[in-house]
């Protein structure tokens, strides 16, 4: 098994005929992904990469039975594309776009309430269940099938951790990039819960960043609900304190917003914290064996 995407997932690409979308759709197919078509408004009826193009997500779902969508449209149009997918009943929506206005995402999250869909991103490299389904832009050759779940905010730091794991012979069930934006679709807790419920996943690596309460909330949830070990890292120990203008950010974030403060709290809550990002793989190997 795996979480969210697997070898039976039927994937469409929104913004299908664009240059990046085309390149990454091809890469996904090479990695074993079942891409069944795509959507580019105004180009419905055409063929692209040997697959049908539709004008709307609704048509694409009706014709292909798609249940996963990768969104490659530019940031100004991304929120609308996400809502279109939600309305059409897509279950897993992966949003690659980097630079979506935050208030657009606030509205999207309101629209998504009660719709039982998983939104991954925005500003994410995507999600990959190695050799079965990849929706995103990550270099697939560094991922190998295995028993560890990976979840991160950063894209390239996800690659870094995966490479360190691979060099030590550890593979992944699924790797999820939840994205680096302040308002995002899926949080750490949702992904941890999925890994806990997945019988194939034996342990989890969670990689966070400065800013926001997500990592500590996730560690608290894990302490109460998880049987599987979690290795954690938070990037930004050496980052300067945020240059800020008002008080509101500091008031809302409270005390535990620096990387070190977060890692201290996570450690107290039972997460195996790595302080040196170069040792994520080694620490995982030691903890998990």
């Amino acid at each position: 098994m795996s979480v969210f995407v697997h070898k039976h997932s039927r994937v469409i690409i929104q913004g299908f005929t664009g240059q990046h979308a085309t390149f990454h759709a091809e890469e996904s197919m090479k990695n074993g992904t079942t891409v069944v078509g795509g959507v580019t408004p105004g180009k419905g009826g055409q063929q692209h990469l040997g697959l049908p193009v539709f004008d709307t997500v609704h048509q694409a779902v009706e014709e292909t039975g798609a249940d996963v969508s990768g969104i490659f449209v530019p940031p100004p149009f991304a929120a609308d594309a996400i809502m279109e997918s939600l309305e059409a009943g897509i279950g897993v929506i992966v949003v690659i776009a980097d630079g979506i206005p935050v208030q657009d995402m606030v509205r999207v999250k309101r629209y998504a309430a009660g719709k039982n869909a998983i939104i991954i991103g925005p500003n994410t490299p995507g999600i990959i269940t190695p050799d079965a389904c990849k929706v995103g832009i990550m270099p697939s050759h560094i991922y190998t099938p295995g028993r560890i779940g990976v979840v991160s905010r950063s894209g390239t730091l996800n690659y870094e951790a995966v490479q360190q794991m691979s060099e030590l012979g550890m593979g992944q069930t699924t790797s999820v990039g939840i994205g680096g934006d302040p308002v995002n679709g899926t949080d750490f807790v949702t992904v941890l819960r999925a890994f806990e419920e997945d019988p194939e996943t034996e342990a989890v690596i969670m990689i966070g960043e400065i800013g926001g309460p997500q990592e500590v909330d996730a560690a608290r949830w894990a302490k109460e609900n998880m049987s599987k070990p979690v290795v954690g890292f938070v990037a930004g120990v050496s980052a300067p304190p945020g240059r800020r203008m008002g008080h509101a950010g500091a008031i809302i974030s409270g005390e535990a917003d620096t990387a070190n403060a977060k890692m201290d709290l996570m450690e107290e809550l039972g997460v195996h914290v790595v302080r040196n990002p170069a040792l994520i793989g080694e620490t995982a190997k030691r903890v998990f064996s």
């Binding site: 990046h20 980097d98 630079g99 979506i100 206005p101 935050v102 208030q103 995402m105 606030v106 509205r107 309101r110 490299p125 832009i137 270099p139 560094i142 991160s152 905010r153 950063s154 894209g155 390239t156 730091l157 690659y159 870094e160 490479q163 360190q164 060099e167 680096g180 302040p182 308002v183 990689i207 960043e209 400065i210 800013g211 926001g212 309460p213 997500q214 990037a235 930004g236 120990v237 050496s238 980052a239 300067p240 240059r243 800020r244 203008m245 008002g246 008080h247 509101a248 950010g249 500091a250 008031i251 809302i252 974030s253 409270g254 005390e255 990387a259 302080r275 040196n276 990002p277 170069a278």
Partner: protein, 389 residues
């Protein structure tokens, strides 16, 4: 993106928030004329810089005569104002805001922010305004009122009245405070703000509520649809290297160490800085070259990093996904040729096309110090620094 206090007040005035009468002065004569036209007996002279904590740095003064208005204006304009938020070098004051002074009965705090926890616009308010609000949040968090806004409904009237009552308002002031909250919310939503703050919201003279100071910060990603706000940007308030970098699609933040960093992705960039610090080095900057980095972009990254005279060694750490290692390598070689770089350069490449990238660097003949992984890279750059010293 930040704007000045006088611009924020102008914006809020347009939404119906009461702000003091006032105008911006660029010199002494200007300031005197404005004060005379405003009338009254006391005026506030406020240095207009983007950093907060101005009062503590002597950037806010009350004048009791036109001569004092001139004197304070003269003291502020042209000097570098140092506040707890500017750093030691301070910020050059180019203009002051002259306002009519008023008698303050009580100060409140009213802010709005996009809260990561609720993922919504959230009102933050307190009966204790002024300079001590962060202290209150730490020592007595129950006195900070938080109310998340449902984006489908907007800030509802009953929420405003609830907040106002908890802030301690009674009678007519409940309605007045509620109106200000609604106005602030509309201004926040309509202009794609990330933060808005009225501090203090003051109960003045005859019981009227007025925004004596206000700050706003806007979402850079949404400015393509907010031309009016974009025009308020003041480049003098921003680090020139950071502005230049963003013009090249690079995200750069200057720090005070001596190891220059060129990395792709914000998370990996921070982790690279962390790894350097872990080996007792000090990063000179944060620099994210982003996705799809061309050789030109890499060259620009070098140019910007090397403008900092403290840089004694550079670590290039690229984990290519959407990027390509061969392009990065070409950019590196080109930069070496054009910029005559003297400091040692440690390079770690991984990911897409890594097998094509390394040979390009080797064939160039330049003395790149190659690293196999992140730990190796951090170790080598700190060692190179010691060798160079």
């Amino acid at each position: 993106m930040n704007i000045h206090e006088y611009q924020t007040k102008e914006l809020l005035r347009g939404y119906g928030v009461a702000v003091p009468d006032g105008r911006v002065a660029h010199n002494i004569d200007n300031a005197a004329t404005i004060a005379e036209e405003l009338g009254g007996e006391r005026w506030v002279v406020k240095a207009q810089i983007h950093a907060g904590g101005r009062g503590k740095g002597g950037g806010v003064k009350v004048a009791s005569s036109i001569d004092e208005v001139k004197q304070f204006t003269d003291e502020m304009i042209g000097t570098h104002l140092v506040t707890p938020q500017t750093g030691a070098e301070g910020r050059l004051v180019q203009r002051v805001l002259i306002e009519q002074a008023c008698n303050i009965n009580k100060e409140f705090y009213l802010g709005m922010v996009i809260d990561r926890a609720t993922q919504r616009i959230t009102v933050i308010a307190s009966a204790s305004g002024g300079m001590n609000i962060e202290e209150v949040a730490k020592t007595d968090p129950d006195r900070v009122i938080r109310e998340a806004v449902d984006p489908a409904i907007g800030l509802a009237g009953f929420q405003c009245r609830k907040i106002a009552a908890r802030m301690g308002f009674t009678g007519k002031q409940i309605g007045e405070a509620a109106k200000i909250m609604q106005a602030l919310y509309r201004c926040f939503r309509d202009n794609d703000a990330l933060l808005a703050e009225i501090n203090p919201l003051a109960d003045i003279d005859d019981g009227k509520l007025m925004a004596l100071d206000a700050k706003m910060n806007f979402d850079g990603n949404a400015m393509y649809r907010r031309k009016d706000i974009t025009e308020l940007r003041d480049f003098d308030e921003e680090d020139s290297k950071e502005v230049e970098a963003s013009g090249h699609g690079l995200n750069y933040i200057a720090l005070d160490g001596n190891v220059g960093c060129i990395v792709n992705g914000a998370g990996l960039a921070m982790a690279t800085m962390d790894a350097i610090s872990f080996h007792n080095g000090k990063p000179a900057n944060f620099l994210d070259v982003g996705g799809g980095a061309s050789p030109e972009k890499v060259g620009n990254a070098f140019r910007i990093v090397l403008q900092d005279p403290n840089v004694k060694a550079i670590l290039v750490n690229i984990f290519a996904g959407i990027n390509r290692c061969d392009w990065i390598a070409e950019g590196l070689v080109q930069a070496m040729r054009e910029l005559h770089i003297q400091v040692p350069i440690v390079v770690r490449l991984a990911g897409t096309n890594v097998e094509k990238g390394a040979p390009i660097l080797e064939a160039s003949g330049f003395p790149f110090i190659m690293a196999n992984n992140l730990d190796d890279a951090a170790t080598k750059v700190v060692a190179a620094l010691e060798g160079a010293a």
